[in-house]
């Protein structure tokens, strides 16, 4: 009685429904393209071709996906504890400090495999720190995390401007960015991974932090479903009153969950800083923290869903850039509209088609049951 709709088979729940949602999103996006007088099939071709057409394109798609896996996981971890962390953007931005410090310190004397672990720790530390403050404010002072994390995004942005124009900028340089790292601060590309499939990564910055993202996804799965801490987080996420009854301390879980979330968001910084630009620039996060919310929503806060969702958004980013390049009358903003439609249908309106599908399945079940009966008779 608690759920008015009967349970659906797994492949419908996790396969068919997301696919239908996605199809509708693209249908509506197609209409928008039509509206500006362009051919939607051509746009679709550029989208798919731009994302998968060449090894290099695939490399870009997966490069973006790497970023979104981190920020998606960050949102998901907090969400399991019932916390809505909108501060991924700021946490990733500040996380960049950790990466930059490790690289600036050791890039000239150490190989990447020494610098990388330190950069991981640094990024996670600074990201966690940036999430700790809102977590602590909620636990101690009751300031709502949704509000404080948004505020901390702005504070992060000002802080980084200050640091990049005053502190981390090399002397005499005009650009608000750190110096370019030496070899020790550059992550190796995953060209070998693509070449297994006979693909050439070309100029795409598809790098080893992709593997780190996959490992983080596995780690999050273990954390949430296989550890005591994860159990406590889920209890609090589902029912704060049951958590209180079980002796789970809300303030402790709030702070820890936020720090893990922030740490994951911070690790996103590794990908652009050490994997692509080899220096820290202004605004290197570019909205990835917010995309993480959509990715977590679409992936149902499960690592197994977040990875494909992140890849989908990688496709939209990379393929979208291609559309904007090939079809000048479709501007960058149009691409954002298409991405918005995907979020709308796959995330927010996730349940739109569920009742109808459930009914269809109930009817089908009825019919097969009837067939079985007549056969039995």
């Amino acid at each position: 009685m608690s759920t008015p709709y009967a349970k659906l088979p797994g492949w419908v729940e996790y396969g068919l429904i997301p696919l239908i949602n996605l199809a509708v999103a693209f249908l509506v996006a197609g209409l928008v393209v039509l509206l500006v007088g362009e051919n939607p099939f051509e746009a679709a071709y550029h989208l798919i071709n731009g994302a998968f057409g060449r090894g290099e394109y695939i490399g870009f798609t997966l490069y973006y996906a790497t970023t979104f896996i981190f920020t998606g996981l960050a949102v998901a971890v907090a969400f399991h504890a019932g916390l809505f962390n909108i501060g991924g953007e700021g946490q990733a931005y500040v996380g960049g400090i950790g990466v930059a410090l490790a690289c600036l310190w050791l890039d000239q004397v150490m190989p990447w495999y020494v610098v990388f672990p330190l950069a991981i720790l640094g990024s996670a530390f600074f990201g966690a720190l940036w999430a700790f403050l809102p977590g602590w404010l909620q636990a101690r002072r009751g300031s709502h995390i949704v509000i404080t994390t948004i505020m901390f995004n702005f504070i992060a942005s000002s802080l980084m401007v200050y640091l990049l124009t005053r502190v981390l900028k090399p002397l005499g340089s005009m650009a608000p960015q750190t110096r370019t790292f030496a070899e020790g601060g550059q992550l190796p590309k995953l060209d070998w991974l693509l070449s297994i499939f006979g693909l050439n990564v070309g100029t795409a910055p598809f790098n080893i932090s992709f593997l780190l993202a996959l490992a983080a996804a596995f780690g999050v799965w273990v954390l949430i479903w296989r550890t005591r801490l994860g159990y406590e987080m889920r209890t609090m996420g589902h029912s704060p009153s049951a958590a209180r009854y079980a002796g789970i301390r809300e303030s402790r879980i709030t702070v820890i969950a936020m720090m893990i979330s922030g740490g994951l968001a911070g690790m996103m910084a590794l990908n652009p800083i050490m994997g692509e630009q080899f220096r820290m620039q202004l605004d290197f996060v570019q909205g990835a923290g917010f995309v993480g919310i959509a990715v977590a929503l679409m992936g149902r806060s499960h690592p197994g869903g977040i990875i494909p969702a992140a890849i989908l958004f990688g496709v939209l980013y990379q393929g979208g850039a291609e559309i904007a390049f090939e079809m000048p009358s479709i501007s960058r903003d149009m691409i954002v509209i298409i991405q918005g439609l995907v979020i709308l249908f796959a995330g927010a309106l996730e349940n739109m088609f569920r009742p109808a599908i459930t009914r269809a399945f109930a009817m089908r079940g009825q019919r097969t049951a009837a067939v079985v009966q007549t056969k039995g008779a």
Partner: protein, 511 residues
């Protein structure tokens, strides 16, 4: 046979491996009250959900007034005249009564016109069925009894001729339940047909015309109420003879295990809920707290269990003091030998979205036997859950099933198994058998007495006076936050009733 309001033919429904309804046939006569009883998990709610269009039957036919109908969703159910009063009310808390009744049946886009009409219609319904309730009161300010009345009004407003009530008295005080039955009698007199699900056989005997019994998904019998007895019904339900009265020997109280001194609890608005309460519970005795719901019993239990802050007073557990006014830690209390079966299993005692096995460790998840370092020892947890499932006969016996999909009585057994199997020194229990069938009540009562005989101190809160009287060795009566008297379980129902109503108590306090 032309006066059949509802006929079910061969209704069949499975949830995966669980066969919840097996080839059910049922006829409900027009203008009668038809009771449906059965053990927890027998499939009663499932059957009613099919009739109301929440679920689709895998097979079978529904006839309303002799005509086959296909009920795809609650809207079609309403359109053929079927209304349902849910166990968990579906009301908008911050809407008024009138707004709730109209919701979804506004008739016109312009609200003002509709409101005036609805108010008139509501007045008529209230008069016709003696369902007084202030149409402008906010739902959140109404007691549950009145909220339920709003649910009934909602159904009648939509011109329901057939009314389904699933365990309507589970949340009501005895007086509210009496009032509900008067309303149902009135509805019947006006020609409405009523289907009533309840676990309380006394209610069945008092109000129904016919009663059908379900067992393990099957409809096993239908009886005319006048020609049956509580004993026969209990036996039909469970499939064996049931002891409706608990057998227990003399208590042999030992040391004081739980001592409460001058405990006072105020709620968030500063209203005193528990007022200077003192008592002791000894090893090997059951102390029952009787009282009409809402007289501070819940707050008292929560304060002792460390999930609600007390304003003043002391609590000694096993002779050592518990910080009830400052830092409260339920986990520490558990470690010190306190187990707590909370009144509200849905929001406090269980996480409904968890697997059964995950709930079986709630509050005990720090126990090393469920852990390998920081990791959960899933195998150990599942094995432990399966043992409890077997011992407490929890159905279906599946430790991986989502807790929300267990029936109410089986959910209660999950909580009881978890708290009792720990062998605590002190067990505090709120409403142990709310929504639980007679067979399970017998089982739970036996277990509570076993705990006592093993030398545990048991503190029991229940709004069921019968339960308090048959289990307790001593009875404390609470009224308006105070303990207004102590009685032995031999005290008459009338005497306790007066105390519970605050009549005797005031006299006693004055003397």
């Amino acid at each position: 046979m032309d006066n059949i309001a509802i006929e079910l033919r061969g209704i069949d429904k499975s949830f995966g491996p669980v066969h919840a309804n097996k080839d059910i046939n049922l006829k409900v006569r027009k203008g009668t009250i038809h009771g449906i009883i059965g053990e927890n998990g027998a499939g009663k709610s499932t059957l009613m959900s099919i009739l109301y269009g929440f679920y689709q039957a895998d097979n079978g036919e529904i006839l309303v007034d002799g005509k086959p109908v296909s009920i795809r969703d609650p809207n079609t159910a309403i359109s053929v005249g079927i209304g349902m009063v849910h166990q968990h009310f579906m009301l908008v808390e911050n809407f008024t009564v009138l707004e709730n009744v109209m919701l979804g049946a506004e008739d016109s886009q312009i609200l003002n016109k509709g409101i005036a009409k609805a108010r008139q219609e509501l007045k008529r319904l209230e008069k016709e069925y003696a369902l007084e309730v202030n149409p402008d009161a906010l739902i959140e300010e109404l007691p549950v009894g009145l909220q339920q009345r709003v649910e009934i009004l909602k159904a009648l407003y939509r011109r329901a001729d057939i009314l389904i009530l699933d365990e309507p008295t589970g949340v009501l005080t005895p007086a509210e339940a009496d009032h509900l039955f008067r309303i149902l009698g009135q509805l019947k007199a006006q020609g409405k047909t009523i289907i009533l699900i309840t676990h309380k056989l006394r209610e069945i005997m008092a109000i129904t015309d016919e009663v059908s019994v379900m067992r393990r998904g099957e409809m096993v019998a239908t009886r005319t109420t006048r020609e049956t007895s509580v004993e026969e019904l209990a036996e039909l339900m469970v499939g064996r003879r049931v002891l409706l009265r608990v057998e227990k020997g003399e208590a042999s109280p030992g040391d004081v295990k739980l001592a409460v001194q001058g405990l006072t609890v105020k709620d968030s608005r500063g209203v005193t809920m528990v007022d200077d309460v003192s008592f002791e519970v000894r090893a090997g005795e059951i102390v029952g707290i009787a009282g009409v719901a809402g007289n501070g019993q819940s707050e008292l239990l929560e304060a002792i269990a460390g999930i609600r802050k007390a304003t003043s007073g002391t609590v000694l557990l096993n002779g050592r003091s518990v910080d009830v006014t400052g830092h409260r830690d339920p986990a520490e209390l558990r470690a010190r030998g306190l187990a707590h079966v909370p009144e509200d299993r849905h929001h406090v005692g269980l996480v409904l979205k968890f697997e059964e096995s995950e709930n079986a460790i709630l509050g005990y998840h720090n126990d090393p036997r469920y852990l390998k370092g920081v990791f959960l020892d899933i195998d150990a947890i599942r094995k432990d859950a399966e043992e409890k499932i077997a011992k407490y006969d929890i159905r279906p016996p599946n430790a991986r099933l989502k807790t929300a999909n267990f029936s109410g009585g089986n959910q209660q057994k999950i909580v009881l198994a978890r708290e009792m199997e720990r062998g605590p020194d002190v067990l505090i229990i709120g409403q142990p058998t709310r929504g639980v069938d007679v067979g399970a009540i017998e089982f739970i009562h036996k277990r509570i007495i076993e705990m006592r005989d093993q030398g545990k101190a048991v503190l029991l809160v229940s709004v069921e006076l019968d339960e308090i009287r048959s289990l307790s060795d001593r009875i404390l009566v609470m009224f308006a936050g105070r303990v207004v008297g102590e009685r032995s379980p031999e005290a008459t129902e009338g005497e306790l009733g007066l105390l519970m109503a605050g009549v005797e108590g005031r006299k006693e306090a004055a003397e």
